[in-house]
């Protein structure tokens, strides 16, 4: 069974962390992943940096720009990850925009992911229908789970469609926004979380965007299976370096 599905069966709320590969330094990738697992993180999204990250706010944009300046490429990332399964057991997801994957070759990319032990992909600008028609078979051939986003504006019909195509979890974007930590959740958002919770979807939901601390993590996981922290973690690494990852994670969990 795919590690993501296994993890989703555990009787606990999941904490997933996003970081940008190649940031702050090009060779931080493996140690960040190892430290996150040791700190008790349940799942990791490894950000493949892109020059034009449309769905990201200033923090992740800046980390991507810096990662590219540091020389990060798809090939280098795969090379860094080649022995990752010797030391890391939690699910690993690559999150990246579609163009770099297209240039690598979608099938070659998926094959490489499988060889390394990557469990899933999140590609915000690969639309559901294109995935369904052109790429689903390839992803499945290499045992990869593709994760789709929904937002407060996504219609019920479309959520059902996305649910029918997904086979891991649904990434529930907390508000209509790009990535970037905000202050807490409003009623509007909790109503939306509840609405989705009541749809009895076959895939569990994990909330992302706007989760930055213990309070927002707890709030989000009241309604969902887990939560994803991105910008707040990238900001932490950017302010305090990569040696205090455990402190950050304990601050979220406790």
């Amino acid at each position: 069974m795919n590690r993501i599905n296994q993890k989703l069966q555990e009787d606990k709320k999941l904490l997933s962390i996003y970081f940008t590969a190649g940031y702050p330094n090009i060779n931080d990738t493996v140690s960040i992943i190892q430290d996150l697992e040791k700190s008790g993180v349940d799942m990791i999204e490894i950000g493949l940096p892109f020059s034009d990250p449309l769905a990201d706010g200033p923090t992740i944009q800046a980390s991507s720009t810096q990662a590219l300046k540091n020389g990060m490429t798809t090939k280098i990332l795969f090379d860094q990850l080649k022995d990752i399964r010797k030391t890391v057991n939690i699910p690993l997801i690559i999150m990246g925009y579609f163009n770099p994957i297209l240039q690598y070759g979608v099938e070659a990319f998926c094959k490489q992911c499988q060889e390394i032990g990557i469990d899933g992909l999140i590609i915000p600008d690969l639309p559901v229908d294109v995935y369904h028609e052109d790429y689903k078979a390839i992803f499945e051939k290499y045992g990869l789970i593709n994760v789709f986003l929904i937002t407060p504006q996504t219609s019920e019909e479309r959520i059902r469609y996305i649910d029918s195509i997904s086979n891991g979890f649904i990434y529930m974007v907390s508000s209509a926004s790009t990535t970037g930590a905000k202050e807490g959740f409003q009623d509007e958002q909790t109503t939306y979380f509840e609405r989705i919770g009541n749809m009895n979807l076959k895939n569990p939901q994990i909330v992302g965007f706007g989760i930055s601390n213990h309070q927002t993590f707890t709030q989000a996981t009241q309604y969902a299976k887990g939560a994803i922290i991105g910008s707040a973690f990238v900001k932490h690494v950017s302010n305090e370096g990569v040696n205090t990852i455990d402190k950050f994670i304990q601050g979220i969990l406790n």
Binding site: F50, S51, D52, P53, L54, A55, D56, G57, P58, Q61, A62, T65, L68, T73, T74, K75, Y97, F98, N99, P100, I101, L102, Q103, Y104, P124, D125, L126, P127, V128, V130, F148, L149, I150, T151, Q153, T154, S155, R158, V173, A176, S177, T178
Partner: protein, 393 residues
């Protein structure tokens, strides 16, 4: 061969809507409504009325006699430079502002490079009393001060794009991010035939008034509807799309697309996407774009801010791939000289973008009885400082 968009939003293999889910409701709303709205008699009436009374259409089709004599062929200039605000951009912004109103939107966003599209958007927002926010690269703000001032005078807020390379591509990213963050009340007026479906097709249709008029005007001049050639410069490709539109399926009309070669196609400082680009995804569509081997979008270069874009619209990628259009790349130097030549021969100061199209006559020989229609997409007022610096006037 079909050169128009198909029902799935593709031109051959190019186009589509490669957008994050956050944008889906907005783009889908537009996709479901744009053709219906454009077909409404009331919409058509209002659009045509504004093009006539406010923009000053039809723009003349002018036989450039001295230019024609020099190159021993028959050159007609489609005078988009005489439109209100000085370029073809306003045809699209008039159409889209009416579309936005039909969709109940109250807030307008746009991206701009040189500021022409920003000015055209600020203008129609003033006309309709709608809030207007224009994203512009920090670097472009510094080098296009007069257009920044125009936008402000027209009541727009100009927001500097500080991410990435701080030029047009980043301004477009910022506008898209704004739209993600404002999904209900906002319409994004894209300024060229780019972006996710239905934008390339919608922009093309609004600009198609250019070729519609050419057909009628050419009958008066030449007693025929179709020229032998249509020529236009390509940034994202909106003036070109409008100039070609009604000739796309007329096999005897040759299409020439002129890109900016910058300092030379092989110089590393160029915007000649058809030569340097590869298939990929930029700003929500699959098309030809300049990128690294790793799929990172690269920064183009051209002296002309309006052609300084790392991609071309999907329709043009298709025209290129199928060989329907001939693509030519013109350097800064050749464009500047062609611009100055038009001043001296015809008394018209062209936008530097349009000067690229004019420069083809130095590189390609036409027959004496060939009828060529060239889109003079804009006037050179905005480029005076560039001309002054370049020629040390």
């Amino acid at each position: 061969m079909n050169y128009n968009v198909n029902e799935k939003g593709y031109y051959g293999e190019f186009g589509g809507a490669f957008i994050p889910e956050m944008l889906y409701p907005n783009v889908e709303e537009l996709r479901q409504n744009y053709l219906k709205v454009m077909e409404e008699p009331e919409f058509k009436k209002e659009f045509n009325q504004l093009l006539k009374d406010y923009v000053g259409r039809p723009s003349p089709l002018y036989f450039a006699k001295r230019l024609s004599d020099k190159y021993n062929t028959k050159i007609y200039l489609k005078r988009e430079d005489l439109n209100h605000t000085g370029a073809h951009k306003i045809n699209n912004t008039i159409g889209q502002i009416l579309m936005a109103k039909r969709l109940g939107k109250t807030r307008i966003i746009a991206e701009t490079g040189a500021g022409q599209h920003g000015v055209a958007t600020a203008t129609v927002c003033a006309l309709m009393g709608l809030e207007c926010i224009v994203y512009m690269g920090e670097i472009d703000i510094a080098r296009q001060a007069p257009n920044v001032a125009r936008m402000k005078m027209l009541g727009a807020t100009v927001v500097p794009a500080k991410s990435g390379s701080r030029t047009l591509k980043d301004a477009t990213n910022e506008a898209i991010r704004d739209w993600i963050n404002n999904p209900v009340n906002t319409h994004y007026i894209i300024g060229s035939a780019i972006g996710p479906h239905p934008y390339p097709d919608m922009v093309t249709r609004f600009q198609s008034v250019i070729s519609e008029e050419i057909k009628l005007q050419l009958i008066e001049h030449e007693d025929r509807e179709n020229p032998d050639y249509v020529v236009a410069c390509i940034g994202g490709g909106s003036n070109a799309a409008g100039t070609y539109y009604h000739f796309l399926h007329e096999e005897n009309v040759n299409i020439i697309a002129v890109e900016a070669a910058g300092l030379g196609v092989d110089s590393g400082e160029s915007a000649a996407t058809s030569v340097l680009g590869k298939e990929g995804i930029i700003h929500g569509c699959k098309t030809m774009l300049m990128q690294t081997e790793d799929g990172q979008i690269t920064e183009p270069y051209s002296i002309s801010a309006g052609l300084d874009y790392p991609g071309v619209g999907p329709m043009h990628a298709h025209l290129c791939k199928t060989g329907r259009a001939e693509f030519m790349a013109i350097t800064d130097n050749d464009a500047m000289n062609a611009g100055l030549e038009l001043c001296k021969l015809e008394g018209i100061i062209p936008a530097i973008e349009s000067s690229h199209a004019l420069a083809i006559f130095e590189h390609k020989t036409f027959k004496p009885d060939d009828v060529i229609v060239l889109s003079l997409s804009g006037r050179g007022d905005k480029d005076l400082q560039n001309y002054i610096d370049y020629f040390k006037i």
